[in-house]
Symmetry: C2
Subunit: 528 residues, 2 copies
């Protein structure tokens, strides 16, 4: 760990600065080894200039080379071995088993995007050949593909120090499609970030890619992040974090002379609807699942279920008793940072203090402030109070949720109509419940990116069919996902080639299909 | 023509107002029959409320019904007969032949989107079935499709009173995918807009769709447009017009509590690069093609070539002489409106007055102000002047262009690097020229949405391979197109269904593929 050099990594060069960031462990408040250079505005300029210079050569690389590069990043990360997990544990207080799993996910994501780069169909090639004899006008030869958008700025998240951070899904999907990446490391895990950034840098060098393909900067406040978003060379932004920070980045991007897209994943309550027969059938099991999902990772998942709407009746009392029993048994645990713990306590107290809102249950053990701990808490209220309140749907990041007693099927619909955009919405229902749930499902589909039946929202599968993104404020652009293969669609844009000779066409559009990819030719998908 | 009722059309109801808009013909400045009610903020509220109410039922319609609806709009428009063309001629001064062609394009676009709605693959269905035995964790059943985004506000353009207006590509692609549409009619052709809006309204009624599926409002200033963009129910915006107006809409959308996407097509110079051997081989033919493209429709196309970069040498003198001859022969013609003519003259004079910029040639006949005419004008300068100037790359909407003499291949690259985002970029080159044009093509692909070789940018084919959209300021979002089948991608967003029972799944995701559409099943495209 004493090997950490603490410098910003700009296009393969380690850059010093005068002001430094030190980091304390949330586990015991102790100062961790290493100090990290805070980037200057000159560093932003240097990193973005290098990224801009790398954009053209990188856009011209083969999918095979980019695949090799991504796979090399994966193997370099694995080669970091226990040192990576140990540092990440100290910086985040996340357990080693969780971080080992997250590393596996990160590496698998890199391999998935390597496969996409190698396979090559992401360019979405479309060909309509010339019709010189068409009346009244001939048709020219038209061929369209998607190409990289240009330098992408990625903000590491606090809660996924590996999978949504330096070499996470944003970086992997941007590199897969040939875009240079500049990462703003999260201030809470700079050592973890440095280890991964060095792994990426080694892969850049090993693959002979332009040095500006990747840079990573440390920053403590918002200045460096905003400067990255506003830099003229930046073409898109990926971010996972709070609504306030995401909004600030969106606003900065929208105010540019040339606005650019920001993919911000921000805030989601992930409402759960407990229909009457499901509760009657299995109140205890649902309570168990709910408390497990809500307290997983100390409630620090973007998909944590924070709102539970449950049908009133005797079954609700059984549910609440089981929730109380389960939550009392959950031991307090360290959160990612003291700031996050403070925000949790403040948010929790803000909701708990609302009128006609009472504590349903809390962890039996108190949180230890010296260990940055949070204790689980569930409050309860009724639907009328919820519908009349401005505050009960505030996101509280951490092990906290609100259970709302709902009087009728109509009230379920009324609540669904009132919800803001969500990453997920969950329904628990028996066959009989679900037979009547069509209207509720339709309403939720209009408000959430993922609908789950008889399951829990935590756990986001990385695959072709995943959608991790929903209407504002869940994410800033519901048309895209930050998880799964479709995440690469954020960082590409189409170009049409009209009557361009074969020799000047990208291989993906040439006659004879030299890449052997699936293409839409005269409206028909084809590999020829 | 005296049949025009002049009212706003809100969810099937004709709504009066106190203040009215009258319209003069650009052809002779005469006041045209009919007066048009200017919408109030209450009208905006009523139209958007109706659209919001229609969103849910419309999202639930079958592709077959939406196809029938779009085809019915097409036939209703054709049934308007000569009255539509005649009114449009009077309001826009565009010739009947051009408007008849544009009507054909509009109707064909509606039919193309009808076919897309009926075919149904636009939902991009993806299925990854459950893997209950997977280690360490089972995989749930995950199915993803794209669904309508919600009410879309469309701004009619001035220069395509049919194809980019009330029933144009924005409206057709939004309706195709199940979104309600509220159109802000362009103030320059309110009668044309009313005729088409009534045709759409008849189709709404004939197909039994919710009344809020379609509304159209008249507005004279920016107030109604901004109110439509800011309305909470609005989910996306389509716009074609000036950069100033587009920017205002983008800013309003970005400042909402929940920012929404704006697809604004705004400003493009459509640079043309004339390489030395092409000029040597066929200077006169290129000059002819250029002047034809530049003066087509009185230069009022978003794809008008406004900047020509030509290699210096004797061939350039021949080119300029041929341009001069051709432009002198082009008769002045009426522009769309007096405001557009005034802006043309102001923009033209601003560029013409720049240092080291001289008039190459102008129409032999003077423009008649009483007929709102503009006369063609081409100015010339050299590359050093162009590169040093802030003004020579200002868009001038109308029959105006700048020819820039370029010294070397390097200077061509230098110019390409300096260009802002463009809808198109065009290259004229011989085989020998093109053999060395790879780097130039790469640079242009990074800056334009469509590259044309040995052709002209005016004429935008409506097909699967078209891209009409480029980096800012050409459009506000280079990742999307406003022309061609891919235009529908602007108005949809993905939703993932996790472990949702068959009976609650949309048909597109059900086992057995009842819609028979192409789907990505376990990563493989499949119709089963």
């Amino acid at each position: 760990m004493s090997d950490l050099h603490g410098r910003n990594l700009i296009a393969g060069t380690r850059c010093d600065s005068d002001s430094v960031l030190k980091v304390t462990s949330p586990i015991d408040g102790s100062q961790l080894p290493g100090q990290f250079c805070l980037a200057s505005l000159e560093d932003v300029e240097a990193a973005m200039r290098a990224a801009a210079a790398a954009a053209e050569p990188l856009a011209g690389t083969t999918g095979e080379l980019r695949a090799t590069f991504l796979e090399r990043i994966a193997s370099e990360i694995m080669d970091l071995g226990d040192a990576l997990i140990e540092r990440a544990c100290l910086e985040t207080a996340l357990p080693a088993a969780r971080l080992t799993g997250e590393r596996g996910r990160t590496v698998n994501q890199l391999k998935m995007f390597a496969a996409a780069a190698r396979e090559g169909a992401w360019v979405d090639a479309r060909i309509e050949r010339a019709l010189p004899d068409r009346q009244p006008l001939p048709r020219p030869d038209l061929r369209r593909l998607k190409r990289p958008i240009g330098p992408v700025v990625v903000f590491g998240s606090s809660n996924f120090p590996l999978a949504f951070s330096v070499a996470g899904g944003d970086t992997a999907s941007a590199l897969c499609t040939g875009n240079p990446v500049v990462v703003k490391a999260h201030r809470a895990h700079p050592g973890t970030s440095e280890l991964v950034a060095e792994a990426i840098q080694r892969a850049v060098a090993a693959c002979g890619l332009p040095a500006g393909t990747f840079s990573m900067l440390h920053g403590a406040g918002s200045e460096i992040g905003i400067a990255l978003v506003k830099h003229p060379a930046t073409r898109a932004v990926g971010f996972t974090g709070s609504q306030a920070a995401g909004r600030a980045l969106c606003d900065a991007a929208a105010a540019r002379p040339d606005p650019i897209p920001v993919f911000a994943e921000m805030s989601s309550l992930n409402p759960v609807f407990l229909l009457p027969n499901a509760l009657a059938d299995r109140a205890a099991a649902i309570a168990q699942g709910f408390v497990g999902s809500m307290t997983l990772g100390v409630g620090q998942f973007c998909t944590k279920p924070g709102l539970v709407f449950a049908a009133v009746g005797p079954q609700l009392d059984r549910f609440k008793a089981a929730v109380a029993e389960a939550i009392m048994a959950v031991a307090p645990a360290s959160m990612l940072t003291a700031e996050i713990r403070d925000a949790f306590e403040q948010g929790r107290d803000g909701v708990t203090g609302q009128p006609r809102t009472t504590v349903l249950a809390r962890s039996a053990t108190s949180a230890d402030p010296a260990r940055t701990e949070a204790a689980g808490l569930v409050v309860e209220t009724d639907a009328d109070t919820f519908l009349a309140s401005e505050r009960l749907a505030d996101e509280v990041f951490g092990p906290f949720a609100v259970v709302v007693a709902v009087q009728s099927a109509d009230q379920f619909l009324q609540i669904a109509r009132r919800l803001e955009g969500q990453l997920t919405a969950t329904l628990h229902g028996s066959t009989a419940d679900l037979a009547e749930a069509g209207p509720l499902v339709e309403l939720l589909a209009a408000r959430a990116g993922r609908l789950i039946v008889n399951g829990w929202p935590t756990g986001v599968e990385v695959c072709t069919a995943m959608q991790h993104g929903g209407p504002w404020p869940a994410t800033s652009d519901a048309r895209f996902t930050s998880v799964g293969t479709a995440a690469l669609e954020r960082f590409i844009r189409p170009v049409c080639y009209q009557d361009v000779p074969q020799s000047l066409l990208p291989a993906a559009l040439q006659d004879g299909n030299p890449l052997g990819i699936l293409r839409l030719v005269e409206g028909v998908l084809d590999r020829h």
